[in-house]
Amino acid sequence: MAFFLETLIGGLMAGMLYSLVALGFVLIFKASGVFNFAQGAMVLFAALAMARFAEWIPKWTGIENMLVANLAAFIIAGAIMFVCAWVIERLVLRHLVNQEGATLLMATLGITYFMEGLGQTLFGSDIYKIDVGMPKEPVFLFESMFEGGVLVNKEDVIAAAIAAALVVLLSLFFQKTGTGRALRAVADDHQAAQSIGIPLNRIWVIVWCVAGVVALVAGMIWGSKLGVQFSLTTVALRALPVVILGGLTSVPGAIIGGLIIGVGEKLSEVYLGPFVGGGIEIWFAYVLALVFLLFRPQGLFGEKIIDRV
């Protein structure tokens, strides 16, 4: 029982991290109808920027305080993501308005290649550390209930808390602010939004910026867990089933989908894996999402797809 709970909690924590990446997908898809494959590259790019600046700032300025260095690095990396968003909107999206979904998808794949190359050219291609002072040691919970208690990684708990806070913040931003309302209007209907005077281009820059910041947070957390390296880009592929499970257009869907996928992955790996040779985590998530899709083609919380001739 304790082991089951441990796996379950581990799955939930991993799920929160997946949903953090999935959130980036959903934000951009909602507002611009672009399925952004570059989210993984953005995570890598942001994490690389943050890791390197946190390393460089003490060297350049002589300030040894880790908190200051990390904060400054975070702000600089955020600014870089802002510039990226602006450049992408200016050079790519603006020219691809009204193209088919597949073309836009391929364009973001092109952006992926570009950002992977650029990030590693600018910041180097070794494995770097992000150390934001998260505690690494595990803790035991419920020791009174089970023998030996349940082993939980403190780092995971903090990461999950950050992810949850970010989701609440974004939901508030979407529901309560004027910009958020404009974003939702654009998501509903580009043309109608434009006709009532919402500046489409600025909205897109804002959305890509927000997605960039989400990528930065995701990169920071994943990076401090796994180290900042090229394989971070595969995080995006892990998060894709989350997005389609939850629905491409739903922020809560990304969260719930993330939790379901996280738990499903861990439980299947532990209880099903040994029978079929292990390593089933990756495709299991996809197959799980696929099965859900067969019953609800728009994902769990996606808007209903209505076809008209």
Binding site: L109, I244, V276, I282, W283, Y286, V287
Partner: protein, 358 residues
């Protein structure tokens, strides 16, 4: 002026319905075939065969298959790499487990394995559409990556899933030299291209296109979506599987599951979109672009940097290649979203009206 159909009168239905009804087209195609079959083998060097021509021919075939699914039937697929892998390992199993199995039947059987796999993973397309389907087909990709790595039976109990074949021969002729490999692949490509061209202009091809353009409307006028979509998946994955088997048997010789990773799926989709969705010609253009570009960059970039007196490291080179590759793709999508095939048809139109463009 040069490319003109007036004056070419058809006196029978047969003449009217032939694949290339315009005489100039027939001449160009024949010239192309002559160049590919006769002139190229006379000139090409061994490196040229191995690095460019053989990959180009095989990838053209794969792109042709993907184009049937994505371009003609409108079902975006990111699982093409998996279909290639299933074709390759399927053909391998038939080739190894049945002693004396000739090469071509093994390739076809490999293609049939891929067909089965494709239909299985095409089933979601009956419920799921567009981008959701694209992600759903990734399931096929990751499943096949895992399957050939972990289930030892498929790889004849080799450890890391890496297998190899040798002593390839067709009708008693050995396929050893680069030239014989090239000609063998080219011959198969011509057969497959002819098959695909005829399929897409027949009834089934029109059903695919109707489904692509608007599936609800198509089912209203009596096209069965299930039949049309699954047949597109079947035909496409058969061709892609054959190409995968060729890639493994003829081009690589020995391979492992990583040879058919998700990266291959992406590249195939690039070929189709850059070449032009819904065009047989486009598959060839797209394959040429994606196969030749990295090789060209690899040769060209060090020379360019050398011009400015700069040395570039291997890692830097590969990053620069990635950047230029990505940027070129984006640029291309912006300049010509309908692909290279569109440029081709524009050129034809220009030739038709020259020298009086109005």
């Amino acid at each position: 002026m040069f490319y003109r159909e007036n004056g070419q009168f058809k006196t029978s239905y047969r003449a009217d319905q032939q694949i290339f009804p315009i005489a100039q087209d027939r001449i160009v195609i024949l010239a192309f075939l002559a160049v590919a079959f006769v002139l190229v083998p006379m000139l090409a060097s061994d490196y040229f065969y191995r690095a460019i021509l053989i990959p180009l021919v095989i990838m053209s075939m794969a792109a042709l298959g993907v184009n049937i699914l994505v371009g003609y039937c409108g079902q975006i697929s990111l699982g093409s790499g998996a279909f290639m892998a299933v074709g390759a390992y399927g053909a391998f199993n038939f080739f190894v487990r049945f002693p004396g199995m000739p090469l071509i039947p093994a390739l076809v059987l490999g293609g049939l394995c891929a067909t089965f796999f494709g239909i299985l993973f095409g089933l979601p397309s009956l419920r799921v559409k567009g981008l959701y389907l694209a992600v759903a087909t990734l399931a096929a990709q990751f499943f096949s990556d895992w399957m050939f790595l972990r289930i030892k039976w498929f790889t004849n109990n080799s450890d890391s899933g890496s297998v190899s074949v040798n002593n390839l021969q067709v009708l008693g002729l050995p396929i050893e030299s680069a030239m014989s490999k090239y000609l063998f692949c080219l011959g198969l490509l011509v057969v497959v291209a002819l098959l695909a061209k005829n399929l897409v202009r027949g009834a089934i091809g029109r059903e695919w296109m109707a489904i692509r353009d608007m599936d609800v409307a198509a089912s209203v006028i009596g096209i069965r979506p299930m039949y049309a979509k699954l047949s597109a998946f079947a035909v496409s994955s058969f061709i892609v599987g054959m190409a995968g088997a060729l890639w493994a048997f003829v081009h690589l010789g020995s391979w492992e599951p990583a040879a058919f990773s998700v990266e291959v799926s992406f590249r195939l989709l690039f070929m189709v979109i850059i070449g032009g969705l819904g065009s047989i010609m486009g598959a060839f253009f797209g394959a040429a672009f994606i196969v030749v570009l990295p090789i060209f960059l690899n040769q060209f970039l060090p020379a360019l940097f050398g011009l400015f007196g700069m040395e570039i490291s291997t890692a830097g080179l590969s990053h620069a290649e990635l950047m230029i590759f990505g940027a070129l793709i984006v640029w291309f999508l912006i300049v010509e979203p309908h692909g290279l095939a569109k440029l081709w048809s524009t050129a034809k139109q220009k030739l038709r009206v020259w020298p009086f463009p109005h």
